[in-house]
Symmetry: C2
Subunit: 372 residues, 2 copies
């Protein structure tokens, strides 16, 4: 059998802390594991299936949750971004995106054959995306060609920075450019509503932040984009072209639906998660491990600079793998093997005693290796 | 909890018979259900993950199974078709596809902005795709513009017809046109090798025919297409653009891998499945229910014309829903609610006694309603 080595570990991998299944999702996963089981009573399109209640989920609950007019399911956040980019793409068109954007935003834009302009961040130590800079790049790029879309990552997956998305949205609107918010690390973790932001599209990731099995994503949009993004096939009148008819036709959607009541509730406790992250960050700094990115921090994803661990790695028996080994020994998973000087982690969903256990691990490791 | 109504039913839905999970896949599903768990030890790309052994699966086992040089995982067969179409697309380019193609082939081509020419089938009662007709349409279309790709569905999802794919492949080759074989109902059910066919691309569906949770698909190709289809990002050097970096990043891939040893073995027993289907077809015809499509039939997916059931539906209390209700009562799932005159079903994987049970159900229903 294919065994997962890290199954019962404390997980601090930012990619994984928001995607852990709820008990409801685990049950649903087995119930609906068989291929295409979700299509038992399909009448032609995934989002219109009534049993299980996909229709209500996609057309009522999800738009309400995302604060938007229309929602769709995709096979992931990146696929949702590509849907929008491909639908809005024009010959010689440009996209402007923040320099902290996930690589898949960039690759999606390449696939949609868009030229890409990036808004640089402020660099070490905060790496912020400033609205003024965003506007500057918009204006520069406008002189090169037509901008069909702007994209802001909220928060980014490296530093967990939350840019002033309302301000950026207002700037884009003033320039007549639609804005897509990549909320892969926001939707399902923290409260976020498209209407409040004022942007045109919002993208979320089920397996990253909505307690779901992958691959699954969500897309929310304003009604004004309906005709462009939900354009239908000429021959198959009810099939939406950009979604190839149906998208996540399987158990991943069931887990998203099963976890949804829990996810809705947990975003309301977001302030507790921020408090926990800030506490963790402050304790790390006491050990000489510096948190980069926004400070005080506003998200559970944190990037650290640990010169002290880097120094140890130069002398340790396992070299740069010593940190990974030490954490593995303590059944903690999530810091990439080989990293010591810079790494990211997430405290999302960790219990108080787990936070202390992880902090204690750092402390012990530093103390133990200080002697060598 | 989200309960599946049809869970322990005998399943004859062509969409579902090949996608039922193996016991190994069920275990793996729970072990790896959490979002992004497959990425525990990722070093940058899904297909290169060593633990679990995705690398070996994608780069060794899968190409061997598909009889091709290079394989990739996608989020489904349609997504695999779109990958190829989008990579090969040119301005004003054409695609030629068989008239029995799945709707998603058509929609994928629309998404890739290709003009579409369809090769008509021979019509009632066999609906065959003839190689000569394929060539005729290729030649006609060539006069209209550049054909960037041809597509043949093997077998199609309506009649379960298996066209002479080697001959069609030879024709395409002679015309210098790459051929994609949509094997969503072949790969994982019957032996099929790209090299033996002589085509350029083959596509399979995990949730349809490889005992996997959806959404998941496979793509096999000849090495000559590597540079075009696997083109990499300019900025992120190891990310393949058409795959947006990574595709089925979740438990669906794990189920595909877990079921794979069983799937490899079951394709070797394909002749038993064909025999079973032919037996079923002959017994149905004894009851006056005519099998359309190829005869003798070569696939478990069969399309039936049942005038006798249609006549009953005119008088039955539940009208055209009587058949669905009768089957539901007998815990048989798979004939779409409301259909009586024409319907498709699949005998794939059914035990002998289950085949008899389904046949008996038809017999009983016809006899019971003959009296009204």
């Amino acid at each position: 059998m294919l065994k997962r080595q890290t199954k019962d570990f404390i997980n601090i991998d930012p990619l994984q802390t928001g995607g852990k299944l709820t008990e409801e999702a685990k049950e649903a996963l087995l119930e609906w594991g068989d291929g295409y089981s979700i299509c038992d009573f399909c009448e032609g399109r995934l989002d219109e299936i009534k049993n299980p209640p996909v229709y209500d989920f996609v057309h009522k609950e999800l738009p309400e949750f995302l604060g938007c007019d229309i929602a769709r399911i995709t096979t992931g956040a990146r696929e949702a971004m590509f849907v929008v980019m491909n639908a809005l793409a024009k010959k010689d068109g440009w996209i402007v995106m923040d320099g902290n954007a996930h690589y898949s935003s960039y690759v999606s834009a390449e696939r949609a054959k868009l030229s890409i302009a990036e808004v640089p961040n402020t660099g070490y130590p905060e790496y912020l995306i400033k609205p003024e800079k965003f506007e500057e790049v918009l204006e520069e790029t406008k002189r090169k060609g037509e901008i069909v879309l702007a994209l802001i990552t909220f928060p980014d997956g490296n530093y967990g920075n939350l840019p002033d998305v309302k301000k950026i949205s207002a700037i884009c609107r003033a320039h007549g450019i639609p804005l897509l918010v990549n909320g892969a690390y926001a939707v399902g973790r923290m409260p976020v509503k498209l209407k409040e932001i004022g942007a045109d599209f919002i993208v979320g990731s089920g397996h990253k932040s909505m307690a779901s099995t992958g691959p699954i994503g969500v897309l929310g949009m304003n009604r004004e984009w309906e005709e462009v993004v939900l354009k239908r096939s000429k021959k198959y009148k009810n099939k939406e072209i950009e979604f190839l008819g149906c998208t996540a036709r399987g158990a991943s959607l069931i887990t998203l639906m099963a976890s949804f009541p829990t996810v809705k509730k947990r975003v309301e406790r977001w302030d507790e998660e921020v408090k926990k992250a800030r506490y963790f960050s402050s304790r790390m700094e006491e050990m000489g491990i510096i948190q980069l990115g926004e400070k005080p921090h506003n998200h559970d994803l944190m990037f650290f600079e640990a010169k002290i661990l880097y120094e140890i790695s130069k002398k340790a028996k396992d070299g740069r793998f010593f940190l990974y080994r030490e954490f593995k020994k303590r059944r903690i998973h999530g810091i990439k093997a080989g990293l010591t000087k810079h790494f990211k982690l997430s405290t999302y969903g960790l219990k108080e005693e787990e936070v202390e256990y992880v902090l204690q691990a750092f402390k012990e490791i530093i103390e133990a290796y200080a002697k060598i």
